[in-house]
């Protein structure tokens, strides 16, 4: 589904992403983990066209999408949520999602119809699906943090993506919010047959839902595979212990 091969990106001589290759199969739930500054967000930005790679390719369903403009990549079927919440803060929750539907259905150059009368049912249904029913008239920027993250997920889902990239979907959430979000993600991924690629600092979550894990360290993939393999990889343990995060990996079986 999503094939990344030999991706490199340097900033002023610093190799943020160095020869990264990663394949995510259709309907797979994959996670990229690594210490802060390992290059996770840069990798996402390279996939979604926010940054152009120095070398390497990104393929979606066999099609080369390397370096295409973000809006094109979005239209090709990659949805994304950002690490720092990225919504339309001054529009209402309803308007946020409705705008995404309008664009997805290529109605943006319609100068004449009344936008507020369009895609009302689709928007209402999505509101229920992401658990924001009842908040439709709220101005998005005034929502609580967890709800803003839910809305952002809704924005990504409105374009009906095949692949969903989530950059730390539970960052800054309380334990109960985290729990709900993960349940929501799992349910939506199953219902919509999504391919999921996410980054996460909470190792418990990663090992709970990921079917495949890639570990990024200093811009390089140091381990890749099923959770059990990654957990027992000596280099991964060394890197994580070095960062005081070893407890998240659990005990060696």
């Amino acid at each position: 589904m999503l094939e990344i091969s030999g991706l490199c990106k340097s900033f002023a001589g610093f190799r943020a992403v160095s020869d990264v290759s990663l394949t995510v199969e259709t309907r797979q739930i994959a996670a990229v983990i690594g210490p802060n500054g390992a290059g996770k967000s840069t990798l996402f930005n390279l996939i979604t066209g926010h940054l152009a790679p120095d070398s390497g390719t990104v393929r979606l369903d066999g099609r080369d999408i390397t370096g295409a403009a973000p809006y094109r990549i979005c239209r090709m079927g990659i949805g994304r949520s950002f690490q720092r919440t990225n919504i339309f803060a001054k529009l209402t929750v309803f308007e946020n999602l409705q705008a995404a539907f309008l664009v997805h259905h290529r109605r943006g150059l319609n100068f004449w119809e009344r936008s507020e009368a369009l895609y009302r049912d689709e928007t209402a249904a999505l509101l229920v699906a992401i658990g924001l029913a009842g908040a439709e008239n709220t101005v998005a920027g005034t929502l609580g943090y967890g709800n803003q993250k839910q809305l952002e997920l809704g924005l990504a889902l409105a374009s009906d993506p095949q692949v969903l990239l989530l950059d730390e979907p539970t960052a800054g959430m309380s334990a109960s919010e985290t729990h709900e979000t993960i349940a929501l993600l799992e349910r939506i991924a199953a219902e919509r047959s999504l391919t999921l690629l996410f980054t996460e600092h909470d190792m418990e979550i990663v090992f709970q839902i990921a079917q495949k894990i890639a570990v990024l360290h200093q811009g390089k993939v140091i381990a890749e595979g099923a959770p059990a393999e990654v957990r027992n990889n000596p280099e991964v343990r060394r890197v994580y212990l070095g960062h005081g995060l070893g407890h998240g990996l659990g005990h060696t079986q």
């Binding site: 979604t48 926010h50 403009a69 973000p70 809006y71 979005c74 239209r75 994304r80 950002f82 990225n86 919504i87 339309f88 803060a89 001054k90 529009l91 209402t92 309803f94 308007e95 409705q98 705008a99 995404a100 309008l102 664009v103 997805h104 109605r107 943006g108 150059l109 319609n110 100068f111 004449w112 119809e113 009344r114 936008s115 507020e116 009368a117 369009l118 009302r120 049912d121 928007t123 209402a124 249904a125 509101l127 229920v128 029913a133 009842g134 439709e136 008239n137 924005l155 990504a156 409105a158 374009s159």
Partner: protein, 335 residues
């Protein structure tokens, strides 16, 4: 089953009520030639032309979040195209007026192509640069624009046909032109209102709010910004065409950058978050200008002080202030 239907209906906010404000305002203003003096007609005409100019700017400023410091360029192109066609070539108004809008829109397409490639302050500076280029051309190209002498004595359109309409037969040509302008501006505002409320308008508001996110719901941000620039430029051109005829001549002064600042002040003063903000701002500024210059020569000083006060007291402009006052009163009554 019934329960599900009930929930989904509840989830959709009610559609807003539609009040034909444009029509109401046009009808009220149409009475000015009968109820007011010649001077009132003069003021009203200046206000409605500035209102259209300011609303066209607000499509960029308030709706798309693009700060253009050079919007007067398109106003000026419209004024010159219409003026030159009517005076030099004797083209009738019915062709010269649409040509002014198209000419301004075309120039907006060319200059906008470059401007939308830059962001924020750089965008603003480039729009200013283009408008100063237009000004320089108008000021120097004697053969076509009349240079620093301008194009005086632009003829009025033929409005003899209005005599057929009962009640209009004994109106002066100036009053008749006012009514024609009122209808054209009313239609333009109705169209712009519709555009702002359309899916296109919604896309523009997402760009204003968050361009990065807008791109990642699949919006080609630059292309939409350019489209907004062209539409705004075209309507500014219509306003310019009417202004040239109204003031009986087109001069390079009209294209000078200070005019861009003036229309921006109108927009912010009235409230750029509201469709009717800029027209209210235009009315306030034109009226204040007349009132204050009657009493003092320090018009700019007084205007500056008033603006300062308003911006701190009502950051949403005059209309924003009225709306928040209204909401507060309603809440007090409910409590």
């Amino acid at each position: 089953m019934t329960a599900t239907t009930a929930t989904t209906t509840l989830l959709r906010p009610a559609l807003s009520r539609r009040v034909p404000w444009t029509l109401i305002v046009v009808l009220v203003l149409a009475t000015v030639p009968w109820l007011g003096s010649r001077y009132n007609v003069f003021l009203a005409e200046q206000i409605i032309i500035d209102a259209l100019f300011a609303v066209s700017l607000n499509l960029l400023l308030g709706t798309t979040g693009l700060v253009s410091f050079g919007h007067v360029a398109y106003f000026g192109v419209g004024a010159y195209v219409c003026g030159i066609l009517m005076k030099t070539y004797g083209v009738p108004f019915i062709i010269a007026f649409p040509a002014a809008g198209l000419g301004a829109a075309f120039f907006a397409l060319v200059s906008g192509y470059f401007c939308v490639r830059l962001i924020k302050l750089y965008f603003a500076m480039l729009t200013l640069a283009f408008s100063q280029i237009v000004w320089a051309i108008c000021y120097k190209w004697n053969a076509v624009t009349g240079g620093d002498q301008g194009l005086p004595e632009i003829p009025y359109p033929h409005l003899g046909w209005m005599s057929v309409i009962p009640g209009l037969a004994d109106l002066r040509i100036g009053d008749r032109f006012y009514l024609l302008s009122l209808v054209l501006i009313g239609v333009s505002l109705a169209v712009l209102h519709r555009v702002v409320r359309s899916p296109f308008g919604r896309v523009l508001t997402t760009i204003r709010d968050n361009p990065e996110r807008a791109a990642f719901i699949g919006i080609n941000v630059r292309a939409y910004e350019l489209a907004a620039f062209v539409v705004a430029g075209g309507f500014a051109g219509f306003a310019g065409a009417l202004y040239g005829i109204f003031s009986r001549g087109v001069f390079a002064d009209y294209v000078f950058w200070s005019k861009s600042a003036e229309v921006m002040i109108m927009t912010i003063l009235g409230g750029m978050g509201f469709f009717w903000g800029p027209p209210v701002g235009a009315a306030a500024l034109v009226w204040l200008n007349q009132e204050i210059t009657d009493y003092t020569q320090y018009w700019s000083f007084v205007l500056g002080s008033i603006l300062l006060l308003l911006l701190f007291a009502f950051p949403g402009g005059i209309v924003g202030g009225i709306v928040s006052l209204w909401t507060r009163l309603r809440n007090v009554r409910r409590a």
